[in-house]
């Protein structure tokens, strides 16, 4: 009898997915006749922890008397013989607008985004259906979630606005949705890479070669955004996907961090801190030491499958 047939007695059909069977027994390995041509490397069961670990820290800063930043983290683990994709949702939002409009805008946006994404992705993962029918592409889910947040913020908060930077980790892909000047960085052994593009006036001027990064860093209008959640119809959202190599970290932060702590300082801290939490705390402390003139938020995610 053929090796394949022996290994897989179950007649195939349109049955639901079943994860690969655990450790192959020696009997199969000993099946010599076909072994040379059929090295079926069925992945062995591995008893690893969740591939996602996360830490975060936040501070009102040393100048402001209220906190307009919001962060949200949601990490799902589901392991066993049956597996569902690893899922993580991380959001940083930096609100703006006087009379407490800023903190309301960022909170409303983060809740709205998380609600949409969990409904369309996470709850769908927990459903019994193995079919991917009618499941919107993940990028469309994020796009829709941010677009919906734009409507929700305008209805609920009126004049307030907020940035929104969202990282949706799905197996080894991270889908980034982004509006404003909060940032997502990818930190690997190669260094630190900014995944998001600031929707700010000075960033635009830099792209046109009209300002140097040094000039932009001290420009009086460096806080002017041309895109934010809660501002007008037809919000344009940046959405893109990045594959995560093992041992990659993602840092989400508000401008209270990156405006005061240089990229290479951030990299240094994340690389050498003994834990994710210590790295987050250290980054916030550094921003405060540098003046802390804005609210500071960091979320640090480690992907190590």
């Amino acid at each position: 009898m053929d090796f394949f047939k022996r290994l897989f007695q179950r007649k195939t059909g349109s049955e639901p997915a079943v994860a690969a069977s655990p450790s192959p027994t020696p009997a199969f390995v000993a099946d010599t006749q076909q072994a040379a041509t059929a090295p079926l490397n069925i992945p062995a069961f591995s008893g690893s922890n969740s591939p996602l670990r996360v830490a975060h820290a936040q501070s009102v800063g040393r100048v402001r008397d209220h906190n307009e930043d919001v962060l949200l983290t949601l990490t799902s683990t589901f392991d066993g013989d049956e597996k569902i994709p690893s899922f993580g949702l991380y959001i940083v939002a930096d609100g703006m607008g006087g009379h407490s409009l800023g903190e309301r805008a960022s909170a409303v946006a983060a809740r709205s985004i998380a609600r949409e994404v969990t409904k369309h992705v996470y709850l769908a993962l927990l459903s019994d259906s193995s079919d991917n029918e009618d499941r919107a592409p993940l990028q469309e889910v994020l796009l829709e979630a941010l677009t919906q947040a734009n409507v929700t913020v305008r209805e609920a908060v009126g004049e307030g606005g907020t940035t929104g930077t969202v990282a949706l980790v799905f197996n080894d892909q991270v889908i980034i949705g982004h509006v404003g000047d909060s940032r997502a960085y990818l930190i690997t052994s190669n260094g630190l890479e900014q995944l998001t593009r600031d929707h700010s006036l000075v960033r635009r001027l830099q792209e046109l070669g009209q300002l140097t990064p040094a000039e932009a860093a001290v420009h009086p209008q460096r806080n002017v955004l041309y895109r934010a959640i809660g501002q007008g119809e037809g919000l344009e959202v940046d959405v893109y996907t990045q594959r995560l190599a093992p041992d990659t970290k993602i840092l989400l932060c508000s401008d209270g961090l990156w405006g005061l702590v240089e990229d290479d300082q951030i990299l240094e801290v994340v690389r050498h801190a003994p834990s994710l939490q210590i790295a987050c705390d250290k980054l916030v402390a550094m921003a405060n030491d540098a003046g802390g003139h804005d609210n500071i938020t960091t979320v640090l995610i480690e992907y190590s499958p």
């Binding site: 394949f4 290994l7 897989f8 349109s14 469309e140 606005g161 197996n171 002017v224 007008g232 893109y240």
Partner: protein, 667 residues
């Protein structure tokens, strides 16, 4: 404290709702000016409509501009007042019909007031908003000429030019005689207290250099260009990314605008001040020429609008090709050169050799070693000499060949319409074994892990041991399988689509890992990059699906069904559509990077070789285009639709055509 300066501020001259209005109607200033109402609210104070009570017999109206001095520091406060007075004095010396007359200047408490001519009219932003559809170009040209005129007056002021610095529709009034008048001379400009906190909304009309602290006459020309762009397109630059006019060519939004006017606006919007018009006079001259219907020659600015040399446009003539801002789209063929000979001669492409078969070639040729193998509908698999296309041997099955041959370990494997998968020696075509499926095999096989994975019209995916041709397993799907399986060795996964639209991922044991549904047939063969499986569907979409879960990360819609299979680099996927375009799709976002238009459907699957992409189109051409931007390198005309997919090896392109020929072309 967060200073929330939204677009409401830039719109503030209209919306007075949430701004503090200092003076109520009925207030008297200096016992002379009776406040009647608010005309507008700005960042530093309001503008009021008032009556000058010195004129007792008539209702003499004036505009009173107020500046509220909120500076906490007395020295700074004094300086602000001094500057306000200085600018007021300067304005009082100006004399131009488009500049309102100043009649009084005074302080009261911490407020400074400037009294000027009341202009009975509407500002251009209001005019624009109240106009259904687009404003006529002739009207806007007339306004532009008048604005150039007043800018000329200001810029030639002695001893120093006056820079207006705030040209925008809401600062231009249209009076009862339809003459434009400049209002709001930005007296308070430069004294706005340092802004704290994040803010939304940009000024929209200001030139880039203004953000470096440079304000010269060329900046006013940029702002005038931005104003004209807004007036002609109705696209408010404050609601768009700053300095993004080049992404919104005027004529793309409002095709009724003349190419000459567009060229004038583009030039005034150059990022580099030196590339704009030399002066308001120069800009005015070109506008007058345009108005008189004369040919307008505008040297395009390179820093905002890419493009060639001098654009010489007569009003009313068709537009010149749009520059870098539009999606790349190249016309299919030079007109009048539709015959194969002429066009081919035009690109200098002469085949290295041509081999003629007895039927159409729809498959992908397979060059290996000294042979090219090609399967044909005439029941034959041919082996030809790669060097010169000479016939070496052929193998006839009992049916035509729709699938393409694959090669592994010196043998050739191919499915036939007779339902069999054949294993032949590559050297002589001697049959080694055959494997019978229940229907035609139109799917090209995939060899991996000592097995052959092939779909059949019998709806099964067959896993066959390549040594001996024994069945390992089969997997049943709802419809024929013509999509070539893709195998991920390390993950031990097999991916393929079926004609009912399902897309499957099986493990090496033939068990379903996941299934993805598109609405129509998936004939396209998947490819893989960076954790994503990429394939096309007859539902018009190209999908990027996460390989281990089957959940789509993105989908990108084309205009017609996609049966072509993607070729991939690390960054982009390239795939044809029946809409006639070859798409370059960013694998990280699913965004279309560019597309290349051919004259008919593209069923052929592109091949990437060095820095170019090769594919055929039903329009009869074989195309070679640049990998990075889709620019045409060459094309070669065959005498039939090119459905065959090319294989490129050692700088030679092998591709068939429905004209029965197999071509070897220099890459």
């Amino acid at each position: 404290m967060t200073n929330f300066s939204t677009r409401q501020i830039t719109n503030a001259l209209r919306a007075s709702g949430d701004m503090d209005v200092n003076l109520k109607a009925g207030t008297k200033l200096r016992d002379r000016y009776l406040i009647l109402g608010v005309l507008g609210v700005g960042g530093m104070g309001s503008v009021y409509k008032a009556r000058d009570l010195n004129f007792t017999g008539v209702n003499k109206l004036v505009a009173v501009k107020e500046m509220i001095n909120l500076a906490p520091d007395p020295t700074l406060r004094a300086m602000i007042i001094k500057n306000f007075e200085r600018e007021g004095n300067l304005l009082a010396t100006l004399s131009h019909p488009a500049i309102p007359k100043i009649s009084d200047l005074f302080n009261e408490e911490d407020h400074a007031y400037l009294v000027m001519e009341f202009i009975d009219g509407k500002d251009l932003e209001a005019v624009l908003n109240d106009t259904p559809g687009f404003l006529p170009e002739t009207t806007i040209v007339e306004w532009a000429i008048q604005l150039c005129d007043v800018l000329t007056y200001l810029h030639s002021h002695q001893p120093e030019p006056i820079v207006f610095r705030d040209m925008k529709p809401s600062n231009v009034m249209l009076d009862q005689l339809n003459n434009v008048r400049l209002i709001d001379f930005g007296i308070a400009k430069g004294f706005q207290a340092g802004q704290k906190g994040t803010m939304i909304g940009t000024e929209g009309y200001s030139p880039p250099e203004q953000y470096r602290g440079e304000a010269g006459p060329a900046g006013d020309l940029y702002a005038l260009g931005a104003t004209l762009h807004h007036l002609l397109t109705k696209r408010d630059p404050r609601a768009e990314p700053p300095f993004s006019f080049a992404e919104r060519p005027v004529r793309k939004i409002n095709p009724s605008v003349s190419p000459g006017m567009e060229a004038i606006i583009n030039k005034s919007l150059a990022y580099n001040p030196g590339e704009r018009f030399l002066s308001a006079v120069a800009m005015k001259e070109v506008l007058i020429a345009l108005q008189r219907g004369m040919a307008v020659a505008v040297q395009p600015a390179t820093s905002a609008i890419s493009g060639g040399s001098v654009t010489s446009i007569l009003p009313g003539q068709p537009a010149p090709p749009v520059g870098a801002t539009s999606t790349l789209s190249i016309q299919s063929a030079p007109t009048g050169q539709e015959t194969g000979l002429l066009t081919s001669t035009y690109f200098g492409i002469t085949p290295l050799w041509v081999f003629r078969c007895e039927d159409e070639i729809r498959s992908q040729p397979l060059p290996v070693g000294k042979f090219v193998y090609v399967s044909v509908y005439d029941n034959n698999l041919y082996a030809l000499s790669r060097a010169d296309g000479k016939f070496a041997w052929k193998y006839a099955s009992e049916g035509g060949f729709a699938a393409s041959p694959v090669h592994e370990g010196g043998n050739v494997y191919i499915g036939s319409e007779d339902g069999k998968l054949y294993a032949l020696t590559g050297e002589t075509g001697r049959p080694l074994w055959s494997y019978q499926t229940g229907e035609s095999v139109r799917c090209t096989a995939r060899v991996a892990q000592g097995h052959i994975f092939v779909g059949s019209d019998d709806r099964f995916l067959h896993a066959i041991n390549m040594h001996g041709g024994k069945r390992a397993w089969t997997y049943e799907t709802p419809a024929p399988i013509r999509s070539r399986p893709y195998v991920l060795d390390k993950e031990a996964l097999v991916f393929f689509g079926c004609e009912a639209g399902e897309f499957f991922c099986l493990d090496f044991g033939g068990s379903l890992k996941w299934r993805h549904r598109s609405k129509r047939a998936v004939t396209s063969s998947p490819n893989f990059v960076d954790g994503l499986v990429i394939f096309g569907s007859a539902d018009y979409n190209v999908y990027g699906v996460e390989a281990s879960s089957g959940w789509a990360v993105w989908k990108t819609r084309t205009g017609k069904p996609v049966v072509s299979s993607p070729a991939v680099t690390e960054k982009a996927a390239f795939i044809g559509s029946a809409d006639g375009n070859l798409y370059s799709i960013d694998v990280r976002s699913g965004k279309v990077l560019w597309k290349f238009e051919t004259g008919d459907q593209i069923a052929s699957s592109p091949a990437i070789y060095k820095t170019a992409i090769y594919f055929g189109s039903v329009d009869g051409f074989v195309y070679c285009i640049e990998l990075k931007d889709g620019k045409l390198r060459w094309k070669f005309k065959t005498e039939g639709a090119v459905i065959s997919s090319p294989t490129v090896v050692d700088d030679v392109v092998y591709i068939g055509s429905t004209d029965h020929n197999l071509y070897a072309l220099t890459a």
